[in-house]
């Protein structure tokens, strides 16, 4: 189980390669990517993330442990980047590999939803007009 906070670009391929095992028939990768518009339509120049790194890593490990308890065959990685990110860059990657696809999808979806709800990470939207706003996740987990 890879659980990391990183400052540099996330290498999703390397994560996938280390998660995949010969027993795996399906691998699901979710990447959260910086998009050009906020939910309210404002033009975004980039995002800035910060984390309580120790607690964030611990929350990733707790999430991975919950996945292991319910789906022991799943191999999981959770990696979040902090610092300033530009449009199109990967902020978070969740990779789940499993013998069958149902578990891989379920584990990846659970992990990203749980991360957004529980992990002490903060996001500042930096708009093209110069304003900066700290944006909170909705608990519903339905938004990116």
């Amino acid at each position: 189980m890879i659980c990391e906070i990183v400052r540099e670009a996330i290498d999703v391929r390397a994560i996938e390669a280390s998660v995949l095992a010969p027993s795996c028939g399906g691998i699901v990768s979710f990447c959260g990517v910086v998009r050009e518009r906020a939910d309210d339509g404002r033009e975004v120049e980039g995002l800035y993330y910060e984390a309580h790194e120790g607690m964030a890593r611990a929350s990733f490990m707790a999430i991975a442990e919950e996945v292991r308890a319910t789906m022991p065959e799943v191999r999981l990685a959770i990696v979040h980047r902090v610092g300033a990110l530009s449009i199109g860059e990967v902020a978070v990657a969740v990779v789940a590999a499993a013998p069958h696809r149902a578990e891989a999808f379920a584990a990846a979806r659970f992990a990203i939803d749980a991360l957004k709800e529980r992990s002490p990470i903060w996001k500042q939207e930096r708009y093209c007009d110069g304003e900066r706003v700290w944006v909170e996740n909705r608990c519903s987990g339905e938004r990116q």
Partner: protein, 78 residues
């Protein structure tokens, strides 16, 4: 003890600082003292959670010398 603040709370309080606390003071007492010093914290009272030594804790938990207390605004990761 050492205080760590994140996101908008970091912008108000700075990233970290050493704070002397009275014997028997709780995390809630610490927050009250910070609000007296920086009244703009008031509006964040409802959304802020506390952690003591990297674990979420309630405002009733006592603070000891050497503790690390973190102030956590609502999360926004992902």
């Amino acid at each position: 003890m050492r205080l760590f603040a994140f996101a908008r709370l970091r912008e108000l309080l700075g990233e970290r600082r050493d704070v002397a606390v009275a014997d028997g003071a709780t995390v809630g007492d610490l927050w009250e003292a910070l609000v007296r010093e920086e009244p703009r914290l008031t509006e964040f009272a409802r959304g802020t959670r506390f952690a003591r030594n990297d674990r979420l804790c309630s405002a009733e938990v006592p603070v000891r010398d050497g503790d690390e207390i973190a102030l956590l605004p609502p999360f926004g990761g992902g």
